[in-house]
Amino acid sequence: MLNISNLDFAYKKTKLFNNLSLQMEAGNIYGLLGKNGAGKTSLLKIISGLLFPNTGTIKVNGFIPQLRNPEFLQDIFFLPEEYYLPGLKAVEYKNTYAPFYPAFDESRFMELLNEFQLPTDRKLNSFSYGQKKKFLISFGIACNSHLLLLDEPTNGLDIPSKTQFRRIIASTGTENRLIIISTHQVRDMENLIDPIIIIDNGKVIFNESIERITDTLTVRKISNEPEYKNVLYSEKEIDGYKIVMTNNDQDQSGIELETLFNTVVTNPEGIKSVFNEGTNNGNN
Protein backbone atom coordinates (compact mmCIF):
# COMPACT_ATOMS: atom_id res chain seq x y z
CA MET A 1 0.00 0.00 0.00
CA LEU A 2 2.86 2.37 0.86
CA ASN A 3 6.11 2.16 -1.00
CA ILE A 4 9.06 4.47 -0.39
CA SER A 5 12.10 3.89 -2.52
CA ASN A 6 15.54 5.54 -2.24
CA LEU A 7 14.14 8.65 -0.61
CA ASP A 8 16.43 11.61 -0.04
CA PHE A 9 15.16 14.62 1.83
CA ALA A 10 16.85 17.68 3.31
CA TYR A 11 15.83 20.90 5.02
CA LYS A 12 18.02 23.40 3.15
CA LYS A 13 21.50 22.00 3.84
CA THR A 14 20.53 19.65 6.69
CA LYS A 15 20.14 16.19 5.23
CA LEU A 16 17.42 14.18 6.96
CA PHE A 17 16.84 11.06 4.88
CA ASN A 18 19.49 9.39 2.85
CA ASN A 19 18.40 6.66 0.46
CA LEU A 20 15.53 5.60 2.70
CA SER A 21 13.38 2.72 1.51
CA LEU A 22 10.32 1.37 3.25
CA GLN A 23 7.25 -0.71 2.48
CA MET A 24 4.09 -0.82 4.56
CA GLU A 25 1.04 -2.99 4.11
CA ALA A 26 -2.61 -2.32 4.93
CA GLY A 27 -4.12 -4.15 7.87
CA ASN A 28 -1.37 -3.07 10.27
CA ILE A 29 -0.84 -0.40 12.89
CA TYR A 30 2.79 0.58 12.38
CA GLY A 31 4.70 2.22 15.20
CA LEU A 32 7.22 4.75 13.96
CA LEU A 33 9.87 5.37 16.58
CA GLY A 34 13.02 7.45 16.60
CA LYS A 35 15.04 9.90 18.63
CA ASN A 36 14.22 13.63 18.63
CA GLY A 37 14.98 15.04 15.21
CA ALA A 38 15.21 11.61 13.59
CA GLY A 39 12.59 12.67 11.07
CA LYS A 40 9.42 10.86 12.18
CA THR A 41 7.16 13.87 11.64
CA SER A 42 8.92 14.80 8.42
CA LEU A 43 8.41 11.26 7.12
CA LEU A 44 4.69 11.48 7.87
CA LYS A 45 4.58 14.84 6.09
CA ILE A 46 6.32 13.38 3.05
CA ILE A 47 3.91 10.44 3.01
CA SER A 48 0.95 12.84 3.10
CA GLY A 49 2.35 15.16 0.43
CA LEU A 50 2.99 18.09 2.75
CA LEU A 51 6.72 17.91 2.01
CA PHE A 52 8.30 16.91 -1.27
CA PRO A 53 11.23 14.48 -1.47
CA ASN A 54 14.45 15.72 -3.11
CA THR A 55 14.93 12.42 -4.89
CA GLY A 56 13.41 8.98 -4.75
CA THR A 57 9.86 7.82 -5.24
CA ILE A 58 6.93 7.44 -2.91
CA LYS A 59 3.59 5.88 -3.73
CA VAL A 60 0.55 5.47 -1.54
CA ASN A 61 -2.13 3.20 -3.00
CA GLY A 62 -0.76 4.08 -6.44
CA PHE A 63 -0.89 7.84 -5.82
CA ILE A 64 2.11 10.15 -5.75
CA PRO A 65 1.47 12.23 -2.59
CA GLN A 66 3.13 15.44 -3.76
CA LEU A 67 0.59 15.78 -6.58
CA ARG A 68 -2.06 16.17 -3.88
CA ASN A 69 -4.71 14.54 -5.99
CA PRO A 70 -8.15 15.02 -4.35
CA GLU A 71 -8.83 11.27 -4.52
CA PHE A 72 -5.63 10.70 -2.58
CA LEU A 73 -6.36 13.46 -0.07
CA GLN A 74 -9.84 12.16 0.69
CA ASP A 75 -8.35 8.76 1.45
CA ILE A 76 -5.82 9.92 4.06
CA PHE A 77 -6.15 11.62 7.40
CA PHE A 78 -3.16 13.13 9.18
CA LEU A 79 -3.43 14.10 12.82
CA PRO A 80 -0.48 16.43 13.45
CA GLU A 81 1.09 17.13 16.81
CA GLU A 82 0.25 20.83 16.49
CA TYR A 83 -3.03 21.71 14.94
CA TYR A 84 -5.59 24.41 14.52
CA LEU A 85 -9.33 24.20 14.94
CA PRO A 86 -11.62 27.02 13.80
CA GLY A 87 -14.27 28.73 15.91
CA LEU A 88 -16.97 26.26 14.93
CA LYS A 89 -19.03 23.82 16.99
CA ALA A 90 -18.51 20.08 16.45
CA VAL A 91 -21.54 19.69 14.20
CA GLU A 92 -20.70 22.83 12.21
CA TYR A 93 -17.19 21.49 11.70
CA LYS A 94 -18.61 18.17 10.57
CA ASN A 95 -21.01 19.91 8.16
CA THR A 96 -18.14 21.98 6.74
CA TYR A 97 -15.40 19.38 6.43
CA ALA A 98 -17.10 15.97 6.21
CA PRO A 99 -18.43 16.55 2.64
CA PHE A 100 -14.80 16.47 1.45
CA TYR A 101 -14.55 12.85 2.66
CA PRO A 102 -17.00 10.64 0.72
CA ALA A 103 -16.65 7.71 3.14
CA PHE A 104 -17.33 9.81 6.23
CA ASP A 105 -19.37 7.91 8.83
CA GLU A 106 -21.49 10.41 10.72
CA SER A 107 -22.88 7.98 13.28
CA ARG A 108 -19.37 6.74 14.12
CA PHE A 109 -18.26 10.36 14.54
CA MET A 110 -21.06 11.13 17.00
CA GLU A 111 -20.40 7.85 18.78
CA LEU A 112 -16.71 8.75 19.25
CA LEU A 113 -17.51 12.29 20.42
CA ASN A 114 -19.78 10.72 22.98
CA GLU A 115 -17.19 8.16 24.02
CA PHE A 116 -14.57 10.88 24.52
CA GLN A 117 -17.20 12.95 26.37
CA LEU A 118 -16.65 15.97 24.16
CA PRO A 119 -19.19 18.80 24.41
CA THR A 120 -21.03 19.54 21.18
CA ASP A 121 -22.37 22.92 22.22
CA ARG A 122 -18.97 24.62 22.61
CA LYS A 123 -16.77 26.08 19.91
CA LEU A 124 -13.78 23.93 19.09
CA ASN A 125 -11.25 26.73 19.60
CA SER A 126 -12.35 26.94 23.24
CA PHE A 127 -11.43 23.26 23.81
CA SER A 128 -8.36 22.25 25.79
CA TYR A 129 -5.37 20.76 23.93
CA GLY A 130 -6.43 17.22 24.86
CA GLN A 131 -10.06 17.83 23.89
CA LYS A 132 -8.99 19.21 20.53
CA LYS A 133 -6.85 16.14 19.96
CA LYS A 134 -9.72 13.80 20.89
CA PHE A 135 -11.99 15.72 18.53
CA LEU A 136 -9.58 15.35 15.63
CA ILE A 137 -9.00 11.66 16.41
CA SER A 138 -12.79 11.18 16.28
CA PHE A 139 -13.07 13.07 13.01
CA GLY A 140 -10.09 11.27 11.49
CA ILE A 141 -11.42 7.82 12.34
CA ALA A 142 -14.89 8.73 11.06
CA CYS A 143 -13.35 9.77 7.72
CA ASN A 144 -12.81 6.05 7.05
CA SER A 145 -9.71 6.81 5.06
CA HIS A 146 -7.39 3.97 4.10
CA LEU A 147 -4.34 5.73 5.51
CA LEU A 148 -4.40 7.20 8.98
CA LEU A 149 -1.28 9.07 10.10
CA LEU A 150 -1.08 9.92 13.78
CA ASP A 151 1.76 12.07 15.10
CA GLU A 152 2.18 11.76 18.88
CA PRO A 153 -1.53 10.99 19.31
CA THR A 154 -1.42 10.41 23.07
CA ASN A 155 0.46 13.62 23.91
CA GLY A 156 -1.83 15.75 26.03
CA LEU A 157 -4.39 13.02 26.64
CA ASP A 158 -5.35 12.20 30.22
CA ILE A 159 -5.00 8.62 31.52
CA PRO A 160 -8.60 7.48 30.80
CA SER A 161 -8.40 9.03 27.34
CA LYS A 162 -5.20 7.13 26.56
CA THR A 163 -6.98 3.88 27.41
CA GLN A 164 -9.94 4.93 25.26
CA PHE A 165 -7.57 5.86 22.46
CA ARG A 166 -5.89 2.44 22.48
CA ARG A 167 -9.24 0.68 22.46
CA ILE A 168 -10.63 2.84 19.67
CA ILE A 169 -7.55 2.51 17.45
CA ALA A 170 -7.39 -1.25 18.01
CA SER A 171 -11.02 -1.54 16.91
CA THR A 172 -10.44 0.82 13.96
CA GLY A 173 -7.75 -1.23 12.27
CA THR A 174 -9.21 -3.12 9.34
CA GLU A 175 -7.67 -5.21 6.57
CA ASN A 176 -7.89 -2.28 4.17
CA ARG A 177 -6.57 0.36 6.48
CA LEU A 178 -2.98 1.32 7.21
CA ILE A 179 -2.37 3.20 10.44
CA ILE A 180 1.00 4.76 11.18
CA ILE A 181 1.61 6.09 14.67
CA SER A 182 4.68 8.19 15.31
CA THR A 183 5.41 8.51 19.00
CA HIS A 184 7.80 8.99 21.88
CA GLN A 185 5.21 7.72 24.34
CA VAL A 186 6.05 4.09 23.71
CA ARG A 187 4.42 2.93 26.94
CA ASP A 188 1.07 4.20 25.67
CA MET A 189 1.49 2.08 22.56
CA GLU A 190 2.30 -1.29 24.16
CA ASN A 191 0.14 -4.04 22.67
CA LEU A 192 -1.17 -1.67 20.03
CA ILE A 193 1.51 -1.03 17.43
CA ASP A 194 2.84 -3.86 15.30
CA PRO A 195 5.20 -3.87 13.35
CA ILE A 196 7.76 -1.53 14.87
CA ILE A 197 9.85 0.76 12.66
CA ILE A 198 12.79 2.68 14.09
CA ILE A 199 14.53 5.39 12.12
CA ASP A 200 17.91 6.84 12.99
CA ASN A 201 20.42 8.94 11.08
CA GLY A 202 18.16 9.17 8.07
CA LYS A 203 17.67 5.44 7.63
CA VAL A 204 15.31 2.71 8.75
CA ILE A 205 17.44 0.74 11.21
CA PHE A 206 14.71 -1.59 12.40
CA ASN A 207 11.48 -2.89 10.88
CA GLU A 208 10.09 -6.02 12.50
CA SER A 209 6.81 -7.49 13.68
CA ILE A 210 6.15 -8.01 17.39
CA GLU A 211 5.96 -11.76 16.80
CA ARG A 212 9.44 -11.84 15.32
CA ILE A 213 10.78 -9.55 18.04
CA THR A 214 9.37 -11.83 20.72
CA ASP A 215 10.80 -14.91 18.98
CA THR A 216 14.22 -13.30 18.60
CA LEU A 217 14.82 -11.27 21.76
CA THR A 218 14.30 -11.87 25.44
CA VAL A 219 14.72 -9.77 28.55
CA ARG A 220 16.29 -11.03 31.77
CA LYS A 221 16.85 -9.49 35.15
CA ILE A 222 20.14 -10.19 36.86
CA SER A 223 21.63 -8.94 40.07
CA ASN A 224 25.26 -8.55 38.99
CA GLU A 225 26.84 -6.63 36.15
CA PRO A 226 26.28 -8.62 32.95
CA GLU A 227 29.22 -10.59 31.64
CA TYR A 228 27.34 -12.66 29.11
CA LYS A 229 28.86 -12.63 25.69
CA ASN A 230 25.57 -12.43 23.85
CA VAL A 231 24.07 -9.49 25.77
CA LEU A 232 22.76 -6.95 23.28
CA TYR A 233 21.85 -4.29 25.80
CA SER A 234 21.98 -3.77 29.52
CA GLU A 235 20.39 -1.20 31.74
CA LYS A 236 21.06 -0.60 35.43
CA GLU A 237 17.95 -0.71 37.62
CA ILE A 238 17.42 -0.28 41.36
CA ASP A 239 17.57 -3.99 42.09
CA GLY A 240 20.11 -5.08 39.50
CA TYR A 241 20.39 -5.12 35.74
CA LYS A 242 17.95 -5.58 32.92
CA ILE A 243 19.56 -7.27 29.95
CA VAL A 244 18.40 -7.97 26.43
CA MET A 245 19.66 -11.17 24.85
CA THR A 246 19.03 -13.45 21.94
CA ASN A 247 16.04 -15.61 22.69
CA ASN A 248 17.51 -19.09 22.48
CA ASP A 249 15.04 -20.63 24.94
CA GLN A 250 11.82 -19.95 23.02
CA ASP A 251 10.78 -17.59 25.82
CA GLN A 252 7.54 -15.81 24.86
CA SER A 253 7.49 -13.16 27.59
CA GLY A 254 8.29 -10.43 25.08
CA ILE A 255 10.10 -7.13 25.43
CA GLU A 256 8.86 -3.70 26.39
CA LEU A 257 8.94 -1.16 23.56
CA GLU A 258 11.10 1.24 25.53
CA THR A 259 13.72 -1.47 26.14
CA LEU A 260 13.52 -2.56 22.52
CA PHE A 261 14.03 1.02 21.33
CA ASN A 262 17.03 1.54 23.61
CA THR A 263 18.54 -1.75 22.47
CA VAL A 264 18.12 -0.90 18.79
CA VAL A 265 19.50 2.63 18.96
CA THR A 266 22.46 1.74 21.20
CA ASN A 267 23.41 -1.46 19.40
CA PRO A 268 22.07 -1.31 15.84
CA GLU A 269 24.75 -3.59 14.42
CA GLY A 270 24.17 -6.26 17.08
CA ILE A 271 20.42 -6.18 16.50
CA LYS A 272 20.90 -6.30 12.75
CA SER A 273 23.09 -9.37 12.93
CA VAL A 274 20.73 -11.15 15.35
CA PHE A 275 17.71 -10.56 13.12
CA ASN A 276 19.65 -11.37 9.94
CA GLU A 277 20.82 -14.59 11.56
CA GLY A 278 17.22 -15.39 12.43
CA THR A 279 16.19 -14.75 8.82
CA ASN A 280 18.97 -16.98 7.49
CA ASN A 281 18.06 -19.77 9.93
CA GLY A 282 14.44 -19.43 8.92
CA ASN A 283 15.40 -19.66 5.26
CA ASN A 284 17.53 -22.73 5.91
Binding site: G49, L50, L51, N69, P70, E82, T96, Y97, P99
Partner: protein
Protein backbone atom coordinates in the same frame (compact mmCIF):
# COMPACT_ATOMS: atom_id res chain seq x y z
CA UNK B 1 -6.06 12.09 -15.32
CA UNK B 2 -9.83 12.36 -14.92
CA UNK B 3 -11.43 15.80 -15.04
CA UNK B 4 -12.97 15.29 -11.58
CA UNK B 5 -9.45 15.15 -10.17
CA UNK B 6 -8.87 18.68 -11.40
CA UNK B 7 -12.29 20.25 -11.14
CA UNK B 8 -15.48 19.23 -9.45
CA UNK B 9 -18.28 21.80 -9.01
CA UNK B 10 -19.40 20.00 -5.85
CA UNK B 11 -15.98 20.28 -4.21
CA UNK B 12 -15.74 23.91 -5.26
CA UNK B 13 -19.04 24.63 -3.51
CA UNK B 14 -17.75 22.90 -0.36
CA UNK B 15 -14.65 25.10 -0.53
CA UNK B 16 -16.76 28.25 -0.80
CA UNK B 17 -18.91 27.08 2.09
CA UNK B 18 -15.84 26.31 4.18
CA UNK B 19 -14.29 29.71 3.46
CA UNK B 20 -17.56 31.43 4.31
CA UNK B 21 -17.91 29.53 7.61
CA UNK B 22 -14.29 30.05 8.57
CA UNK B 23 -14.25 33.79 7.89
CA UNK B 24 -17.81 34.76 8.71
CA UNK B 25 -16.93 36.70 11.90
CA UNK B 26 -14.13 38.71 10.27
CA UNK B 27 -16.34 39.43 7.25
CA UNK B 28 -19.23 40.65 9.41
CA UNK B 29 -16.99 42.86 11.57
CA UNK B 30 -15.12 44.35 8.58
CA UNK B 31 -18.32 44.96 6.59
CA UNK B 32 -20.03 46.52 9.62
CA UNK B 33 -17.09 48.87 10.20
CA UNK B 34 -16.96 49.80 6.50
CA UNK B 35 -20.72 50.52 6.46
CA UNK B 36 -20.44 52.73 9.53
CA UNK B 37 -17.55 54.72 8.03
CA UNK B 38 -19.37 55.11 4.70
CA UNK B 39 -22.49 56.38 6.44
CA UNK B 40 -20.43 58.83 8.49
CA UNK B 41 -18.70 60.19 5.38
CA UNK B 42 -22.02 60.54 3.56
CA UNK B 43 -23.63 62.33 6.52
CA UNK B 44 -20.67 64.72 6.91
CA UNK B 45 -20.63 65.40 3.17
CA UNK B 46 -24.36 66.09 3.08
CA UNK B 47 -24.38 68.23 6.23
CA UNK B 48 -21.24 70.34 5.95
CA UNK B 49 -20.16 70.36 2.37
CA UNK B 50 -22.06 70.65 -0.81
CA UNK B 51 -23.76 67.31 -1.41
CA UNK B 52 -21.56 65.43 -3.82
CA UNK B 53 -22.51 63.60 -7.00
CA UNK B 54 -19.18 61.76 -7.05
CA UNK B 55 -19.04 60.70 -3.37
CA UNK B 56 -19.99 57.07 -3.85
CA UNK B 57 -17.95 56.64 -6.99
CA UNK B 58 -14.88 57.90 -5.09
CA UNK B 59 -15.69 55.60 -2.19
CA UNK B 60 -16.14 52.74 -4.64
CA UNK B 61 -12.68 53.16 -6.14
CA UNK B 62 -11.11 53.41 -2.66
CA UNK B 63 -12.97 50.35 -1.40
CA UNK B 64 -12.07 48.37 -4.48
CA UNK B 65 -8.41 49.31 -4.69
CA UNK B 66 -7.48 49.65 -1.02
CA UNK B 67 -9.89 47.15 0.54
CA UNK B 68 -9.77 44.73 -2.39
CA UNK B 69 -6.01 44.67 -2.71
CA UNK B 70 -5.44 44.30 1.04
CA UNK B 71 -8.03 41.49 1.13
CA UNK B 72 -6.37 39.84 -1.87
CA UNK B 73 -2.96 40.05 -0.19
CA UNK B 74 -4.21 38.07 2.78
CA UNK B 75 -6.24 35.52 0.82
CA UNK B 76 -3.63 32.75 1.23
CA UNK B 77 -2.73 33.58 4.83
CA UNK B 78 -4.02 30.16 5.88
CA UNK B 79 -1.40 28.49 3.69
CA UNK B 80 1.48 30.53 5.11
CA UNK B 81 0.70 30.07 8.80
CA UNK B 82 2.39 27.12 10.46
CA UNK B 83 -0.68 26.12 12.45
CA UNK B 84 -3.11 26.22 9.51
CA UNK B 85 -0.96 25.30 6.49
CA UNK B 86 -1.41 21.56 6.89
CA UNK B 87 -5.17 21.85 7.24
CA UNK B 88 -5.35 23.83 4.00
CA UNK B 89 -2.92 21.80 1.94
CA UNK B 90 -4.47 18.46 2.93
CA UNK B 91 -8.02 19.58 2.30
CA UNK B 92 -9.34 17.10 -0.28
CA UNK B 93 -9.68 19.45 -3.24
CA UNK B 94 -7.45 19.93 -6.25
CA UNK B 95 -4.90 22.74 -6.43
CA UNK B 96 -6.96 24.24 -9.24
CA UNK B 97 -10.10 24.28 -7.11
CA UNK B 98 -8.23 25.88 -4.20
CA UNK B 99 -6.73 28.42 -6.60
CA UNK B 100 -10.00 29.14 -8.37
CA UNK B 101 -12.06 29.53 -5.19
CA UNK B 102 -9.67 32.14 -3.78
CA UNK B 103 -9.33 33.88 -7.15
CA UNK B 104 -13.09 34.06 -7.58
CA UNK B 105 -13.61 35.41 -4.07
CA UNK B 106 -10.95 38.09 -4.45
CA UNK B 107 -11.98 39.22 -7.94
CA UNK B 108 -15.61 38.78 -8.96
CA UNK B 109 -16.74 38.04 -5.41
CA UNK B 110 -15.17 41.15 -3.92
CA UNK B 111 -16.25 43.41 -6.80
CA UNK B 112 -19.86 42.19 -6.72
CA UNK B 113 -20.10 42.51 -2.93
CA UNK B 114 -18.60 46.02 -3.10
CA UNK B 115 -20.94 47.16 -5.88
CA UNK B 116 -24.09 45.63 -4.39
CA UNK B 117 -23.14 46.61 -0.84
CA UNK B 118 -22.33 50.19 -1.77
CA UNK B 119 -25.57 50.54 -3.75
CA UNK B 120 -27.62 49.36 -0.78
CA UNK B 121 -25.66 51.50 1.71
CA UNK B 122 -25.99 54.57 -0.52
CA UNK B 123 -29.79 54.16 -0.61
CA UNK B 124 -29.95 53.65 3.16
CA UNK B 125 -27.51 56.47 4.02
CA UNK B 126 -29.12 59.00 1.72
CA UNK B 127 -32.57 57.98 2.95
CA UNK B 128 -31.43 58.75 6.49
CA UNK B 129 -29.77 61.99 5.34
CA UNK B 130 -33.03 63.17 3.75
CA UNK B 131 -34.98 62.32 6.87
CA UNK B 132 -32.56 63.98 9.29
CA UNK B 133 -30.92 66.87 7.46
CA UNK B 134 -33.09 67.13 4.38
CA UNK B 135 -30.07 67.07 2.09
CA UNK B 136 -28.49 64.18 0.27
CA UNK B 137 -25.65 63.09 -1.97
CA UNK B 138 -26.27 61.45 -5.27
CA UNK B 139 -27.06 57.73 -4.96
CA UNK B 140 -24.40 55.30 -6.19
CA UNK B 141 -25.17 54.13 -9.68
CA UNK B 142 -23.42 50.83 -10.50
CA UNK B 143 -24.57 50.87 -14.11
CA UNK B 144 -22.11 53.45 -15.38
CA UNK B 145 -19.22 52.89 -17.75
CA UNK B 146 -16.74 54.28 -15.19
CA UNK B 147 -17.70 51.67 -12.58
CA UNK B 148 -17.16 48.79 -14.97
CA UNK B 149 -13.88 50.17 -16.35
CA UNK B 150 -12.61 50.68 -12.81
CA UNK B 151 -13.61 47.10 -11.97
CA UNK B 152 -11.70 45.84 -14.99
CA UNK B 153 -8.63 47.84 -13.87
CA UNK B 154 -9.03 46.27 -10.44
CA UNK B 155 -8.87 42.77 -11.97
CA UNK B 156 -5.59 43.62 -13.71
CA UNK B 157 -3.94 45.17 -10.64
CA UNK B 158 -5.39 42.48 -8.38
CA UNK B 159 -3.52 39.79 -10.29
CA UNK B 160 -0.17 41.17 -9.07
CA UNK B 161 -1.37 41.20 -5.46
CA UNK B 162 -2.83 37.71 -5.89
CA UNK B 163 0.59 36.44 -6.95
CA UNK B 164 2.09 38.33 -3.98
CA UNK B 165 -0.42 36.61 -1.70
CA UNK B 166 0.76 33.18 -2.86
CA UNK B 167 4.44 34.05 -3.13
CA UNK B 168 5.23 36.02 0.03
CA UNK B 169 4.80 34.42 3.41
CA UNK B 170 4.43 37.57 5.52
CA UNK B 171 3.50 41.24 5.01
CA UNK B 172 2.23 40.36 1.54
CA UNK B 173 0.62 43.73 0.80
CA UNK B 174 3.69 45.82 1.65
CA UNK B 175 6.05 43.40 -0.08
CA UNK B 176 3.95 43.42 -3.24
CA UNK B 177 3.92 47.22 -3.30
CA UNK B 178 7.70 47.22 -2.80
CA UNK B 179 8.05 44.71 -5.60
CA UNK B 180 5.94 46.84 -7.97
CA UNK B 181 7.99 49.91 -7.03
CA UNK B 182 11.33 48.18 -7.61
CA UNK B 183 10.08 46.53 -10.79
CA UNK B 184 8.87 49.86 -12.20
CA UNK B 185 12.16 51.58 -11.34
CA UNK B 186 14.16 48.73 -12.92
CA UNK B 187 12.07 48.75 -16.10
CA UNK B 188 12.36 52.55 -16.34
CA UNK B 189 16.13 52.41 -15.94
CA UNK B 190 16.38 49.68 -18.56
CA UNK B 191 14.15 51.73 -20.85
CA UNK B 192 16.34 54.79 -20.43
CA UNK B 193 19.48 52.72 -20.99
CA UNK B 194 18.27 51.16 -24.24
CA UNK B 195 16.66 54.36 -25.48
CA UNK B 196 19.94 56.16 -25.00
CA UNK B 197 21.74 53.48 -26.98
CA UNK B 198 19.19 53.17 -29.78
CA UNK B 199 18.45 56.91 -30.16
CA UNK B 200 21.95 58.06 -29.36
CA UNK B 201 21.74 61.15 -31.60
CA UNK B 202 18.56 62.45 -30.07
CA UNK B 203 19.38 61.77 -26.46
CA UNK B 204 23.04 62.63 -26.60
CA UNK B 205 23.86 64.84 -23.64
CA UNK B 206 20.35 64.36 -22.24
CA UNK B 207 21.73 63.20 -18.94
CA UNK B 208 24.04 66.12 -18.54
CA UNK B 209 21.87 68.76 -16.90
CA UNK B 210 22.86 72.39 -17.13
CA UNK B 211 21.20 75.53 -15.80
CA UNK B 212 18.46 75.39 -18.38
CA UNK B 213 17.47 71.83 -17.51
CA UNK B 214 18.08 68.67 -19.44
CA UNK B 215 19.71 69.00 -22.81
CA UNK B 216 17.19 67.42 -25.13
CA UNK B 217 17.33 67.94 -28.85
CA UNK B 218 13.60 68.10 -29.50
CA UNK B 219 14.11 69.01 -33.14
CA UNK B 220 15.74 65.68 -33.83
CA UNK B 221 12.74 63.80 -32.47
CA UNK B 222 10.32 63.03 -35.24
CA UNK B 223 7.72 60.41 -34.45
CA UNK B 224 4.83 59.85 -36.75
CA UNK B 225 1.47 60.34 -34.94
CA UNK B 226 0.35 57.07 -36.53
CA UNK B 227 3.22 55.32 -34.78
CA UNK B 228 2.18 56.84 -31.48
CA UNK B 229 -1.34 55.52 -32.02
CA UNK B 230 -0.02 52.08 -32.84
CA UNK B 231 2.26 52.05 -29.80
CA UNK B 232 -0.62 53.16 -27.56
CA UNK B 233 -2.92 50.48 -28.96
CA UNK B 234 -0.28 47.79 -28.47
CA UNK B 235 0.43 48.98 -24.91
CA UNK B 236 -3.29 49.03 -24.10
CA UNK B 237 -3.83 45.57 -25.54
CA UNK B 238 -0.85 44.22 -23.64
CA UNK B 239 -2.12 45.82 -20.43
CA UNK B 240 -5.57 44.24 -20.72
CA UNK B 241 -4.50 40.84 -21.99
CA UNK B 242 -1.13 39.92 -20.52
CA UNK B 243 -0.64 40.72 -16.81
CA UNK B 244 -3.74 39.16 -15.26
CA UNK B 245 -3.54 35.73 -17.00
CA UNK B 246 0.24 35.70 -16.56
CA UNK B 247 0.27 36.48 -12.84
CA UNK B 248 -2.68 34.18 -12.11
CA UNK B 249 -0.94 31.34 -13.96
CA UNK B 250 2.30 31.87 -12.03
CA UNK B 251 0.27 31.98 -8.80
CA UNK B 252 -1.35 28.64 -9.68
CA UNK B 253 2.00 26.92 -10.20
CA UNK B 254 3.38 28.48 -7.03
CA UNK B 255 0.37 27.12 -5.14
CA UNK B 256 0.99 23.69 -6.62
CA UNK B 257 4.53 23.74 -5.21
CA UNK B 258 3.53 24.84 -1.71
CA UNK B 259 4.96 22.77 1.14
CA UNK B 260 4.48 23.05 4.90
CA UNK B 261 8.15 23.89 5.41
CA UNK B 262 7.45 27.24 3.75
CA UNK B 263 4.91 28.12 6.41
CA UNK B 264 5.97 30.33 9.33
Amino acid sequence: METTNIFSPGRLLYLFKRDLYSNINTTIITSGAAMAVIYLISAISAYYGSPSDQLYYNLFTKLLFIGGLIATSTIFREMHRKETAQNYLLLPASTFEKFFSRLFISTIGFAVITIVGLTIISYLSEGINILIINRHNQIFNPFTKEVWIMTAHYFVIQSIFFLGAVYFRKHNFIKTINFIFLFTISISLLGIFFTKIIYFDIFNDFFRPDDAGFLFQWNSLSINPKDINTITTIARTLYWLIPAPLFWTIAYFRLKEAEVKNAI
